[in-house]
């Protein structure tokens, strides 16, 4: 397992803020983070008759990177899309339990979904820049909130810099965003998400369509972004989870099998299924 951790890109820092307790003592899925950003409590989710998530309990710590891993169809993306209520678009979907962000129930009756989505940004599996110029892509969100003119220029530059894309596109801001390379497009999408100044950034397999170099850039970016943002990343790539995340959750068939610090998950998982998965025995 150690070879995973010593992979050539960024090494995950090993954090020892919370001393590990003996296995089985603490409730599964709850890392006693000092200040949890997202609190998921007994969430069950059904698509029609088919249950996709079974009793998920989870605390996602603030300003850390949390990775969801697991085989395809295990529910990790479904859970991610609950955090910004993008699942609302799906017909016949029922969700029970609560999800709190900053202590507020995001499925509460008074929640303004637009406001929630402004605070919880998302980057998709396939880069999806709008068929507009690079500038207009980044300015899209702020424009919706009524920001105009010079303030907009400022936001666009700041966001592109934060997404480490500014230097590459500074002389072609008004060309189509679709003319960029795959990795650049994905960073453009990150810049677009950052432009509305979210607190949480959800990333749904952001590197699955990218080559290793572009992936490396995105991972460096994730590392830099966690200073300011709480990041939740869904990934198929276990090395990636090991490299970029502080905490990792392992999902299987709609259940969260294990949630712990990444080093712990990858070196000393408590559940047999986790160990089987990360050592490649199935999945």
């Amino acid at each position: 397992m150690l070879d995973l951790l010593t992979s050539p890109l960024t090494k995950p820092e090993v954090r020892r803020e919370n001393p590990p307790r003996p296995n089985g003592v603490r409730e599964r899925g709850v890392v006693p983070a000092v200040d949890p950003m997202i609190v998921v409590k007994s969430v069950n989710l059904k698509y029609g008759e088919k249950q996709a998530l079974f009793n998920i309990n989870l605390d996602i710590p603030k300003q850390k990177v949390t990775a969801f891993i697991g085989p395809s169809g295990c529910g990790k993306t479904t859970l991610l899309r609950c955090f910004n209520r993008l699942n609302d678009l799906v017909d016949h979907l029922t969700l029970t339990g609560t999800i709190r962000i900053h202590g507020a129930d995001i499925y509460g009756p008074e929640v303004d979904v637009s406001e929630l989505r402004k605070r919880v940004g998302m980057v998709f599996q396939k880069s999806n820049p709008f068929p507009k110029s690079i500038y207009d892509n980044v300015a899209y969100g702020p424009r919706i909130y009524g920001i105009r003119n010079s303030r907009l220029d400022e936001i666009v530059e700041k966001s592109l810099r934060a997404a480490a894309l500014w230097d590459e596109v500074t002389d072609r801001l008004h060309e189509s965003g679709l003319g960029l390379s795959g990795g650049q497009q994905q960073r453009l999408c990150i810049a677009r998400a950052l432009a509305v100044e979210p607190e949480v950034l959800l990333m749904d397999e952001p590197c699955s369509a990218l080559d290793p170099i572009a992936t490396g850039k995105i991972e460096d970016l994730i590392d830099a972004l966690k200073e300011k943002y709480t990041i939740v990343i869904v990934t198929h790539n276990m090395q990636q989870a090991a490299r970029v995340s502080d905490h990792t959750g392992f999902f299987l068939l709609g259940e969260m099998v294990e949630f712990d610090e990444t080093t712990k998950i990858f070196t000393n998982p408590c559940d047999k299924r986790t160990e089987d998965y990360i050592t490649g025995r199935f999945g």
């Binding site: 989505r117 402004k118 998709f124 820049p129 919706i144 679709l178």
Partner: protein, 539 residues
């Protein structure tokens, strides 16, 4: 053999052959129209036939065909006959004669044969005898006469143009103002006001217009008096005819022309065709009002059909809950595209003209009744009918475009906190515009070629005025209009002189094809620009 079938080659041949056959048919159609249409204005030579019985005929050869000889023994030499356009309809009664080639004793192309295109009675073929001015003879003989005509013709044509302009613009404006005054008086009368300041004022204005009309009339009369030149012309067989100079559109010696001169005449005739009003029950002159009517109708139709179709498609695809009902609506919309166009025409008459137009008349133009204003065929109703006819095309194309937009693009917008409306307006609509334009292109192509529904909703054989002119409110959507498609039908099959009009049919058809092509090319260029703006290959 089995290997041959298995190789898949026969299928390639079958598909390729089908494509080739379609192309050949389309190319043949276009070629026929182009060949027959482009040659119409070419000044072909004038021939003089002396027949065995001594008859002399002069004109242009238009056709040559074998005489059918049923029952003849094989090997009999074929006999031919030619069709000669002899013109001079006022003298002979018909423009064309068939002549058996066997009966022609002498065939010559006299250099001094003159072709005079006239405002009435079609072409004249013959010679100039005498040129007169105010009854006084100024030149005698063909050559002297020709130079006298050439001296006077430009002035006469200019004068004729001036007269036409006064008739159309000045007198037209007076008539228009008078009609409006009359309607206002009538409107006051209907409200029970038949005296008082307002009525007096209007009556005074009316009198002023009457006086203006009188002056215009006298001016016209003096101008007309100046058109006193005329010439006496003789046909090939010696019949004489008096012809006022103002009746001449164009006169030339077809057999004495050099190639550049022929080109000049060809181009000037072509320009006349494109820019002038029709003459002689549409068989001569130009088709400008029909071009204008066609283009304007297609434009109005596009303006009406695009928002309607796009909004309907957005509801069907973006908002409606997908289910059996929406599927049924979708099938109904598709079927609507297959309804015969005349059915739409009948609906246009029954609903748009009688119900809506009649309602508008009763509400806003009661003073004009019983003469209908909107309650009769007009360009607006024709365009609306065509919009209805083509809306399924736009709906289907837009829906397909919407379906092709990847959901992840919409989600990207929603995930930034945009509402559904903002997403639709800012992301979906721009991305679907190329598809909308594709639909519009198909709709325009269909609308420009449609004739049946127009015949009952506002197209006429000859419209007195264009739907756009200099009188307030400048665009008159209630007016009847001319249309190239109907023009083809009318000229080719309804005109009293079908034979003479037949070349015009092809020319007009070619023009209609070119206009449809031009409209489509414009839309395609716009679409490609949009595509370039929004393309990039990411999806």
């Amino acid at each position: 053999m089995k290997r041959f079938w298995k190789s898949g080659d026969p299928f390639i041949w079958l598909t390729g052959g089908a494509l080739a056959l379609s192309l050949v048919m389309v190319a043949g159609l276009v070629l026929l129209v182009v060949m027959s249409g482009l040659g119409v204005f070419w000044p072909s030579p004038v021939v003089r036939f002396t027949l065995t019985d001594g008859t002399v005929l002069m004109g242009q050869v238009t056709e040559r065909e074998a005489i059918p000889q049923p029952g003849a023994a094989p090997g009999t030499p074929r006999l031919y006959r030619v069709q000669l356009k002899v013109g001079n309809r006022d003298v002979y009664g018909a423009d064309f004669v068939w002549v058996d080639e066997a009966k022609i004793a002498k065939r010559e192309t006299p250099l001094d044969a003159i072709l005079i295109q006239r405002r009435e009675w079609g072409n004249f073929y013959g010679h100039i005898k005498v040129v007169k001015e105010g009854g006084r003879i100024v030149a005698e003989g063909h050559d002297a006469g020709w130079s006298a005509v050439q001296d006077r013709l430009p002035d006469v044509l200019q004068l004729a143009r001036r007269i036409k302009q006064i008739e159309k613009d000045d007198v037209g404006a007076i008539n228009y103002a008078q009609e409006r005054l009359r309607l206002r008086l009538r409107g006051l009368e209907m409200h029970g006001v038949s005296s008082g300041n307002e009525v007096e004022g209007l009556k005074q204005e009316m009198a002023g217009l009457q006086a203006k009309f009188k002056t215009a009339e006298t001016e016209l009369a003096t101008l007309r008096q100046r058109l006193n030149s005329s010439l006496v012309v003789a046909t090939a067989d010696g019949k004489e005819k008096d012809l006022p100079l103002a009746q001449i559109v164009r006169a030339f010696h077809p057999n004495a022309l050099s190639l550049p001169q022929k080109f000049a005449i060809y181009l000037s005739a072509l320009w006349e065709f494109l820019s002038d009003d029709p003459r002689e029950s549409n068989t001569e002159g130009g088709v400008f009002p029909a071009i204008f009517g066609t283009v304007m109708m297609v434009m109005i139709m596009s303006i009406l059909v695009t928002p309607l179709g796009v909004l309907a498609a957005f509801y069907l695809r973006e908002y409606a809950k997908q289910g059996p009902l929406v599927s049924a609506v979708r099938i109904a919309v598709n079927n609507l595209a297959g309804v015969p166009s005349i059915v739409f025409g009948v609906f246009g008459v029954g609903f748009f003209i009688y119900v809506i137009g009649g309602g508008i008349d009763r509400l806003f133009f009661p003073e004009a009744l019983p003469t209908p204003t909107f309650g009769t065929g007009g360009i607006l109703w024709a365009s609306l009918t065509l919009a209805l006819l083509t809306v399924p095309v736009v709906i289907v194309a837009t829906e397909e475009g919407l379906a092709a937009i990847p959901p992840v693009i919409r989600e990207g917008s929603l995930a930034l906190g945009a509402t559904k409306l903002e997403t639709t307006w800012r992301v979906v609509l721009p991305a679907v515009m190329p598809s909308v334009l594709t639909g519009l292109i198909l709709a325009m192509a269909r609308a420009a070629g449609e004739v049946a529904p127009l015949m009952i909703t506002g197209v006429v054989k000859l419209a007195p005025a264009l739907p756009v002119d200099g009188f307030f409110p400048f665009i008159h959507l209630e007016r009847k209009f001319m249309h190239l498609g109907f023009h083809i039908y009318d000229v080719g099959f309804q005109s009293p002189n079908v034979e003479a009009a037949r070349p015009m049919v092809f020319t007009t058809a070619l023009l209609l094809l070119l206009i449809v092509l031009a409209l489509n090319l414009t839309a395609i260029l716009v679409r490609n620009r949009l595509r370039k703006k929004y393309a990039g290959g990411a999806f």
